[in-house]
Subunit: 206 residues, 2 copies
Amino acid sequence: MNSQHFSTKERILGAAEQLFARLGFAGASLRQVTAAANVNLAAVNYHFGSKENLINEVFRRRLDELNAHRLQALDQALARPGAGLEDLLAAFIHPALDLSLDRGGGGAFVRVLARAYAEHNDALRKFLSDNYGHVMKRFHAAFAQRLPDLDKEELYWRLDIVAGALTYAMADFGVIKRKSGVTEQQHRERSAEHLIRFAAAGLRAP
Amino acid sequence: MNSQHFSTKERILGAAEQLFARLGFAGASLRQVTAAANVNLAAVNYHFGSKENLINEVFRRRLDELNAHRLQALDQALARPGAGLEDLLAAFIHPALDLSLDRGGGGAFVRVLARAYAEHNDALRKFLSDNYGHVMKRFHAAFAQRLPDLDKEELYWRLDIVAGALTYAMADFGVIKRKSGVTEQQHRERSAEHLIRFAAAGLRAP
DNA sequence: TCGTAGGTAAAACGGGCGTTTGAATGCTAC
DNA sequence: GTAGCATTCAAACGCCCGTTTTACCTACGA
């Protein structure tokens, strides 16, 4: 059968992403995932080894691209001489917002990300830190340079809050419907503006 | 035996709160809960009817008190003539922060709350909206009065982001250890200041 | 003192879980 | 064409799930 365009692995990843977003990692079973992917149950353990590894690969598939876009946007922002807080925030937000408003499964993935944030799952945190920690480090350094009056601890706090707030907000963007008469592009730009202004004001607060 | 000070119901609620915070609603089983509570497995269904209802009661036990404190703090803030944004935010944040830094299970509960926020569980959302929607309405009205330049939609956005950010942040407070040489009271006050300043700046952003 | 109601206990219910197995299938290179 | 490999498949593995059942204990009012 397998008449779809995508490979078994890709269909499993897509179905897993949707179901993890809706039901959580523990709440979505491999039987649900493989049924949604139109794939045999054993395919998950054949291609991914275990459920936990499947979870990791769901993250890797999106985060490789997302973080590449973020670093690229950060480099472009830093290349400009007068780059300010808002430009750094835009570099962080725009790639994720593009993902969350994507026609593909990206919206689901941002909700998965928000779940992971709330879960405090140690194994997952280690995986994310090992694979993508350098991205947050680069943003942290760029923010630190532009917020010299904040001591290290205070900056850490605020970036943590900002990251949580943005993750949560972007997870919601996929769910909340836009007003009629607004194109998706307009909606996306206005959303990004909201988030950037909000976060910048929070970071700059005395 | 039941040699503990607390009733079977209370011990189940406490153990469920801890395990839901750590493992999630789907991830924590009633066998784990009843074992941690030192109670027979059947006690959950006897006292609560079902797992889903147990989840609801875990929320009710804390939210009745939390929202009463929030409304009380809001009334006190509104009674003062010059009450501003920061006072409203303090009324919202302080009761939750007290809970999250509580010696009892409050810290776990705030993490449960953050999970519920990320889950978008329909049944749970309905329960929370039915039982505690009026609290958010009162805060919303108070904020609207102090932010007349924001249109309805914009205010809705920002309060949503603020609520999400604060929920995330407070869930983290219970996890992050305070610096040595800082009393818990100092830590609490500084944390509240951070959150209030951050949120106020975000709400006031042009 | 007995009957009864409220609570606790152990055991079992059917079913879903993640994972493994071993045979069947498709595909590529010789 | 056939050997060899990668993939798919149905079936089963043992285990844990939420819930129910049935019996037992205990306390208290009649």
